[in-house]
Symmetry: C2
């Protein structure tokens, strides 16, 4: 059974998509088989890996609303060292899903059922890229996951939003998915020259303690450049600090999950 991790934060622009793509790539380079599920109607994980969204005739929308089998939707992306990343891509059709899911029975469990309907045992990890909201799509991700990875940009609004996110997570654990855990909080876009960054990083570590992952992702312009070429950071510039820190993160998560 793969480990399913939802990458989530209702604050926008904190590095959810950047983390999903580059953590998936890092884990793949370390020998793991990884499936990305793009659950964001913006489809940034999809385009960030070079897939043309307008050409898609099968996407996460079909998986959720039309009961299409996931193996029909999955696409394979080649990265360096002959490794591959697998993705269930998204397109703008998905923005209608929130309203369409609303009328369905057990509307929070639609994604969970879609994943359990297929044999995904070949994968070690499933990473879900969530939209910046606590909508029904995101609740579906909570219900379908083993744990949550929360990117936290080192700025005031992102830190402030954590209290609300924490409350929501506790509600989900109580009412929907009692086995849901926190994989960790990931500090992103850290700039050591910037006082607000240092303050936020230390406040988040003081409050959330061991839940904060050791790996810190620095601000690195290469991470903002690579999606415009449809490449993960390792195929764009494997020696930059962005690539090194996402490889560190991949190692930390493998270790945390007992080597698997």
């Amino acid at each position: 059974m793969p480990k399913t991790i939802a990458v989530v934060n209702q604050k926008g622009g904190v590095g959810k998509t950047t983390t999903v793509i580059n953590l998936a790539a890092g884990l793949s380079l370390l020998g793991k088989k990884v499936l990305i599920i793009d659950l964001d109607p913006q489809g940034n994980s999809t385009s960030g890996l070079g897939i043309e969204k307008s050409s898609l005739n099968k996407s996460t929308y079909n998986l959720l609303i039309e009961d299409m089998k996931i193996d029909e939707v999955i696409r394979k992306i080649d990265i360096k060292e002959n490794k591959k990343i697998y993705i269930c891509p998204s397109n703008p059709e998905l923005s209608g899903a929130d309203i369409e899911l609303y009328d369905l029975e057990e509307r929070e469990w639609i994604l969970n059922k879609a994943l359990n309907n297929s044999n995904l045992d070949e994968f070690n990890y499933i990473l879900i890229d969530c939209p910046p909201s606590l909508s029904l799509l995101t609740i579906n991700a909570f219900a379908a996951s083993n744990s949550l990875l929360v990117p936290v940009q080192c700025e005031f609004y992102a830190m402030e939003g954590l209290a609300q996110l924490n409350k929501t997570i506790n509600l989900i654990i109580e009412r929907i998915n009692p086995s849901l855990e926190i994989e960790g909080l990931l500090l992103t876009m850290f700039d050591s020259r910037n006082n607000i960054c240092k303050t936020v990083a230390s406040e988040v570590r003081n409050f959330f303690k061991e839940k904060v992952l050791n790996t810190l992702i620095p601000k690195n312009v290469k991470l903002a450049e690579c999606p415009s070429f449809g490449k993960c950071i390792f195929d764009y510039d494997q020696h930059c600090i962005g690539a090194i820190s996402y490889l560190d993160l991949s190692k930390e998560l493998i270790l945390k999950n007992g080597g698997s």
Copy 2:
């Protein structure tokens, strides 16, 4: 009648809240009376102006779901030169509004009705801070506004999202609010040392032409610092490039709207 402008972009973290707060402050310093409506459950416009969200017993939620009169919800914020900003604050209760609005008659027009139920003629401008999604809350903002101001971060994903936003806007104009116009696209977080910024800025100007506002908002760390003190940029550091550019933006909008 005030001019109502929704500040919107489904891409997260592009500077919607930063623009609402500092444009409202800039317009106020130039003698206009401005009301902010915080329509984002995250409540960043509310906390960015120093209001403690947990102490709120009246918020945008009450306005939309309980038909409370807007004058009961509005709070007044003092800024420099004895000027004031008015805000209809938000708190996390609002995250339930999307689902609660869903079952109401004419669910897209709830905010429009709430604004028309009161006499807001004392205001020159109403600025609506939208959440990073094309949810029912955002559709309500589209239906209640005269025009849209779209902040565009100078990065790949923010630019890529414009095509989808453009389609949604055209649908809204066709089906819900035929008089809706584009106030302008605002390039934000521009860093002249960064190639991707320059590429995105020129591509957005080439594609959207005169719809792109002349004022460009540069990346300026003071704009990221001031919300943690609950202050607008003019009260935090009135001489910094962030303050100057938001004052320029205020002047450009006043001119564009015939001096009013």
